[in-house]
Amino acid sequence: MERTAATATSIWRITIGAAIALVILAVLPQLVDPYQTVLLTYGLIMAIAALGFNLLLGYTGLLSFGHSAYFGAGAYLVAFIMRDFGAHSMELCIVGGMLGTLIIAATFGFVCVRHTRIFFGILTLALSQVLWSLAFKFFWVTGGTDGIRVPYANLTLLGGLVDFKGSGSFQRFIYAYYYYVLALFAVSTIIMWVIAHSPFGKALQAIRDNETRARFVGISVRRYRWIAFMISGTLTGLAGILWVPLNGLTTPDILYWPFSGEIVFMTVLGGFRSFTGPIVGAIAFNYLKTYAIASTEYWQLLLGVVLVILVMALPAGIVGTTARLAAKLRRRTK
C-alpha cells in the first residue's frame, strides 16, 4: 500500500527523491552508449503506459486485459496523421492522437465499466480485439500485417524548432527524443501522482476497497470508474504515440491481446499496489525482454517462467518486496 503523504516532511522527501531520480535520468545518456539511451527511451515510454494502466488496476481495482487497444490506437493515429494529413509536428500528433484515444477510451469505457472482475477483463479484451481485427483486415488503410512506416526523419519536435534532416540525424534524434520523452514522462508522472492523491483518487481507492460503502458515501461508482478508464486509456495512448516514431513502424501486433498481457506483466513486475511500481516494472521489463530476446530464441519461455515465479513468490512486485525488506531491516536496526 502507498503510505499516504499526509505530513509536509514526507511530501518533501518524495519531491527530493523524484528530483534525484530525474537528475539521474537526465545525466544518464551522457554516460552510456546510444543503444542504452534508446532502450531507456523505450522503458520510459512503457512506464507511461503502465502508469496509465495502473490507475485502473492498482487504484480502481479493475484488471483490463485490453490496454493494447489504446496503445495501438495512439500509434496508428500518429501514423494516419503523418501519412494522410502530411503533418510533421510531433505536438500535433500528440494532441490529435490523445484526442482520438480519448474518444475510443470513452466509448469502450462506457461499455466496460458496467461490469467488474472477470467480466470487465473479458469485455476489455473483446473490444480491444475489435480494433485488432480491423487493423488486420483493412489492409488498404492500415497496411495489414506490414503495418505503416513512421519515419523519424519526417518529424519535427517543439513546433518545428528541432528537425532531423541531413547527416548524423539518427544520433541527434536519439538524444533529442530521449529528453522529449523524459519531459513528457515527468509531466505524466506528476499528473498521475496528483490524480492518485486527490479526492478523486481517494474515491477510486474507496471504490476498489469496498464498492458498497463507496456508494453509500455518495460516490457515483460507475461515473468515477468511467473517468478513471478514460484517463487510463488516454495516458496509455500517449505511450503508443511516443512509441511509434522511435520504433519507426506500427503493426497490428501492438493491438493484439498478448501485448495487453505484457502491460499487465510489467505492472505486476514492479508492483501494482504502489505508485512507483509500474514505472520500475516497465523499465525493468523492457530490459528483461530485450536481453531475453538477445540471449535466447526461447525468450518467451524465460519471461513466462519469470511471470509464474513472480505471481507465486513475489506478488508484491519489485517495489513492494523492496519496501518490505527495507522495513524489516529498519525494524531490526532499531
Partner: protein, 296 residues
C-alpha cells in the same frame, strides 16, 4: 444450393472443434472459477503432439501395416498427453492461487501461455506439422456437384459424441454429481467428505483433454502452426461469453452461433468478420453478463 450445403457442413465442422475447446474452458471455469488463458495453447499442444505421433508412426510402420483405423486411433493420444500436462499444472501452479484474487489467475495462466508457446517451438520446431495423410486416406464424398472431405464429417461426429459423452458424464454419473457439488459449494463438498483437491485435478485434466482433443481432430485438416492457440483462445472466449461461462449447453450453442456467423461473415462481409464476433460477445456481456445459459 450446393455451396450452401457445403457452407453449412463447414460451419458444423468448425462448431465441433470450437465446442471441444470451449467446453473445456467452460468446465474449468465452472468448477474452479479460473479463466485459463493458456487453454488455447493446450489446444495447440494437442494438435502438435497428435501430428507428431501420427507422423512418426506412419514413418516407422511398414508399408500397409498401419491402416486408416490405426492412425485414427493414434490421434487421441495427443489429447491424453495434454490431459497429463493438465494434471501436472493444476496441483503445482494453480492450487496455491485459489485463495488469491482473479488477477493472479489470469497472470499465472498468461505466464503458462508464454511457456507453452515456446515449449512447442522447442519441441516441434518452426515448421508446421500436419497429419494430412488421414484426410487423404478418408477421401471425399459427393455433395451435389462438388466433393466434400469425409474427414470433416468425421470431426462433426466426434463433436456430437463428445457433447453427448460430456453431458452424460456430468449429469448421469456419480463423478458428475461430485463435480457439480464441488462447483456449487466447495466448502460444503469438502465437509461432506469429498476430496476437493482430487476433483479439481480431475476436472482440470478433463478440460485439458477436451482442448487437446480439439487440437487432435483438427490437425489432419489444418496444420499445427506457432501461434495457433493464441488466435483460437479469443474465439473460444467469444463462444463461452455468448453461451455463458461455466455452462455446457452454452458452449454448444455458442460454438454453433460463432461458426455460423463466421462462415456467413467470410462469405458476405470478410473484412469485419472477426470484429462482428467480438462485438457480439461484447453485446451479450452488456445485456446478459452470464450469457445465454450461465448462472451468476
Amino acid at each position: 444450393m450446393t455451396i450452401l450445403v457445403i457452407q453449412i457442413l463447414n460451419s458444423f465442422f468448425y462448431a465441433a472443434v470450437l465446442f471441444l475447446i470451449a467446453a473445456g474452458l467452460s468446465l474449468i471455469y465452472g468448477v474452479m472459477r479460473i479463466v485459463n488463458l493458456a487453454h488455447g495453447s493446450l489446444y495447440a499442444l494437442g494438435a502438435y503432439v497428435s501430428a507428431w505421433i501420427v507422423g512418426s508412426a506412419v514413418g516407422h510402420a511398414l508399408e500397409g501395416n498401419l491402416g486408416l483405423a490405426g492412425t485414427l486411433l493414434l490421434l487421441p493420444l495427443g489429447a491424453v498427453a495434454v490431459a497429463a500436462v493438465g494434471a501436472v499444472i493444476e496441483p503445482t501452479l494453480l492450487r496455491p492461487l485459489y485463495r488469491r484474487s482473479e488477477e493472479y489467475h489470469l497472470l499465472v495462466t498468461f505466464g503458462l501461455l508464454m511457456i507453452l508457446e515456446d515449449v512447442m517451438k522447442l519441441l516441434f520446431g518452426r515448421t508446421p506439422l500436419s497429419a494430412g495423410q488421414i484426410m487423404d486416406q478418408m477421401g471425399s464424398i459427393p455433395v451435389g456437384r462438388l466433393m466434400y472431405p469425409t474427414y470433416n464429417l468425421f470431426v462433426v461426429t466426434v463433436g456430437i459424441a463428445a457433447a453427448i459423452g460430456l453431458w452424460a458424464f456430468i449429469y448421469r454419473t456419480k463423478f458428475g454429481v461430485i463435480l457439480r457439488a464441488t462447483s456449487q459449494d466447495r466448502r460444503m463438498a469438502a465437509a461432506l467428505g469429498i476430496n476437493v483437491s482430487r476433483v479439481y485435478v480431475q476436472a482440470f485434466a478433463i478440460g485439458c483433454f477436451m482442448a487437446g482433443l480439439g487440437g487432435a481432430v483438427v490437425v489432419p485438416a489444418q496444420a499445427a502452426v506457432l501461434g495457433l492457440g493464441i488466435e483460437v483462445l479469443i474465439l473460444a472466449f467469444v463462444v463461452v461469453v455468448i453461451g455463458g461461462l461455466g455452462s455446457l449447453q452454452g458452449a454448444l450453442v455458442g460454438a454453433l452461433i460463432v461458426s455460423f456467423v463466421r462462415t456467413a461473415g467470410i462469405q458476405f462481409f470478410p473484412e469485419i468478420e472477426l470484429a462482428v464476433l467480438y462485438l457480439i460477445a461484447a453485446a451479450v456481456l452488456l445485456v446478459r453478463p452470464t450469457g445465454m445459459f450461465g448462472r451468476a
